[in-house]
């Protein structure tokens, strides 16, 4: 059982975000309150949308009068689970690449591969992701007809796999180096001497020691996916496709299809000076989600660190409990020698 407050706080925040989003869908059928004009008690119009923040609507409303907070809540059920999915894929694929890397490669091949893969350190992920996703996600126009190059499900599949595969090389080198460091430990060498094969060492020694580290890598990757989502949203590449309005004099900004958060950022960020809260609402939600993931990471770290300490304690106790009675040995002079 994990006893860290930080871990549970992070988990509860994430679960609350996704859960309330799902409840909103099931109970209210994802209906978003629209308040284009605010009336006072006498029925006079007081204010027109966009409305400022109020206890009723913490992020105010947008220009069309839709409640921003409800919009953000509606999007949570897409953004967070997909971030988790992408991060999970990254770690799992990287883990399976790391196994041959650590176990079967001679050290010169390992070094070469590390160099090849760490060349990605100099290629900024956001730029590459924008460059690759632009043809996939943005609606195009040919003559009169607006069209997407790919269907909705294919777009999502491509985006998820591109965002996964771009980072897999770096993560697999990281995990591979963790494994090789593990293999150099003394207890592994002694089990080798005792005749353990590669599979047994992997199952009994490497996996148990690596799993905690992998959990931490996973939560860190969740954060990095969320950051990429925010960047892509700013550059108007929304999750699942960007609906661009090509008709002349069209002043509707490019729309996201599902109110997921990167779409909301792209739609509202240009309001930053006129209505800061509208623009920053989705960004703040990104911040909350990232903080929750960071809390989970730290909670896990303290949990695993304290787990190690407990194990050493037990060992010391055992050493202490060796019975030190007089029966253990006999005095030479009593033996009469």
């Amino acid at each position: 059982m994990i006893r860290s407050i930080k871990f549970w706080a992070g988990c509860i925040v994430l679960a609350a975000l996704i859960g309330s989003s799902l409840v909103h869908q099931m109970v209210f059928d994802s209906k978003i309150k629209k308040v284009p004009v605010l009336y006072n008690d006498k029925g006079e119009a007081v204010k027109a949308a966009p409305l400022p923040a109020s206890p009723d609507m913490p992020f105010g409303t947008d220009r069309q009068g839709y409640d921003m907070f409800a919009k953000v809540m509606q999007g949570a059920k897409y953004t967070i689970p997909f971030a988790i999915l992408i991060a999970l894929q990254r770690v799992v694929i990287a883990f399976f690449i790391a196994i041959p890397y650590a176990f079967y490669f001679p050290s010169w091949a390992r070094k070469g591969l590390e160099q090849l893969l760490s060349s990605f350190y100099y290629v900024p992920l956001t730029i590459i992701a924008i460059f690759l996703l632009e043809p996939v996600l943005v609606e195009r126009i040919a003559g009169e007809k607006e069209y997407f190059t790919y269907d909705f499900s294919v777009r999502i599949f491509l985006e998820v796999s591109i965002l996964t595969l771009l980072v897999v090389p770096m993560v697999s080198v990281m995990i591979g180096n963790m494994m090789t460091a593990q293999l150099k430990e003394e207890f592994i060498q002694s089990s080798q001497v005792l005749g353990a094969g590669k599979i047994r060492i992997f199952r009994k020694h490497v996996v148990p020691h690596l799993l905690p580290k992998l959990c931490i890598v996973f939560t860190q990757q969740c954060v990095s996916v969320l950051i990429i989502f925010a960047h892509l949203g700013y550059f108007k590449l929304f999750f699942g496709g960007t609906d661009v309005c090509y008709t002349p004099f069209c002043d509707i900004p490019p729309q996201s299809i599902s109110n997921e958060w990167s779409g909301l950022i792209g739609e509202y960020y240009q309001n930053i000076f006129a209505h800061p809260l509208i623009a920053l609402g989705p960004v703040i939600m990104f911040g909350i989600a990232i903080y929750a993931f960071n809390l989970v990471t730290e909670g896990l770290q303290t949990h695993f660190a304290s787990g190690k300490r407990k194990r050493t304690y037990k060992k010391e106790e055992k050493e202490d409990t060796i019975p030190a009675g007089a029966e253990q040995f006999t005095f030479i002079n009593e033996k009469g020698a």
């Binding site: 060349s119 290629v123 956001t126 460059f131 690759l132 960047h231 930053i272 911040g287």
Partner: protein, 284 residues
């Protein structure tokens, strides 16, 4: 020499991977594998003759090369200044933090986790809003919030770029120094009567640098992505202008290669310094 060779090989590999990636968008658009190979051939040829490259600013093609260099150095200046400032400020603050009692440090670390989670877009927006707010209150313009035409701004983009890396470095340094100060040599030198600050400044710091070196690559990687956003938000006439004015594979490849060059030089130099130190330690 070994380092020079290693860096050169790595650089070549980076160029190859950039070229391979640059063909992909066409592959996605046309769904045609043979045109992908064509594209890659084109990009490789134009990388070998960068002088012939042209970009299209206002529907009229211009040669990329003399035009591109000036904004390129501008962007690199912003990036490197922000990086170095973040590093040194974080180091000074980390030293100061290490002299504080442990309970205060725990509070600081928790605060840093919160700050670390700020999305970069939020940081940029807050900086922008702070300047406008400050101007409205005091009518002192700290800096222009957007660059117009020829005039160049330095303070704001550097500030925006350095805040998050500064927090990352700061937290990492505090964590590493704490870990270091639990090691036996720290207790030993304290027992010998050396002062805490002395051990901290000269021994602990030196021992954290190898990990920091590897960590700084990740930070820089993150910063290059942020540079793109900052230049876009503040309308800065840097390399991203060329990236966005013309989204063709060749331009993309050239710009990415040029972005990578200074960091190869920078990290190659740092690695050289580290290796000298390691050799000296091995000799001693």
């Amino acid at each position: 020499m070994a380092i020079l060779r290693k860096m050169l090989i790595q650089f070549l590999l980076t160029v190859v991977s950039i070229v391979l990636i640059s063909g992909l968008p066409d592959l996605f658009l046309t769904k045609n594998v043979s045109s992908y190979w064509e594209k890659i051939k084109d990009v490789s040829v134009s990388l070998l003759h960068p002088g012939h490259l042209q970009y299209i600013p206002f529907k009229q093609p211009r040669p990329l090369f003399p035009d591109f260099l000036d904004p390129y150095f501008y962007s690199i200046t912003i990036l490197l200044t922000a990086f170095l400032l973040a590093f040194f400020l974080a180091q000074v603050l980390a030293w100061m933090t290490m002299t504080l009692p442990e309970r205060v440090r725990a509070v600081i670390k928790n605060l840093l986790t919160l700050l670390e989670s700020l999305p970069d877009l939020l940081v940029f927006a807050l900086v922008q809003m702070f300047i406008v707010f400050f101007y409205k209150q005091t009518s002192i313009l700290l800096s222009d919030v957007a660059s117009l035409g020829e005039q160049r701004i330095y303070v704001i983009p550097i500030m925006c770029l350095m805040i998050l890396p500064f927090i990352y470095f700061y937290k990492m340094m505090v964590l590493l120094s704490e870990e270091e100060s639990k090691k036996p040599y720290f207790e030993f030198s304290r027992a010998k009567g050396l002062r805490r600050t002395y051990v901290l400044l000269f021994h602990v710091t030196r021992n954290t640098y190898e990990t920091l070196f590897h960590f700084s690559k990740t930070v820089l990687w993150f910063m290059i992505s942020n540079l793109l956003l900052v230049e876009w938000i503040f309308n800065i006439d840097g390399i991203t202008y060329y990236l966005y004015s013309d989204f063709r594979a060749e331009i993309m490849a050239v710009i990415l290669v040029f972005l990578a060059i200074p960091f190869f030089v920078f990290f190659g130099f740092l690695e050289f310094l580290l290796s000298i130190r390691l050799r000296r330690e091995a000799g001693a």
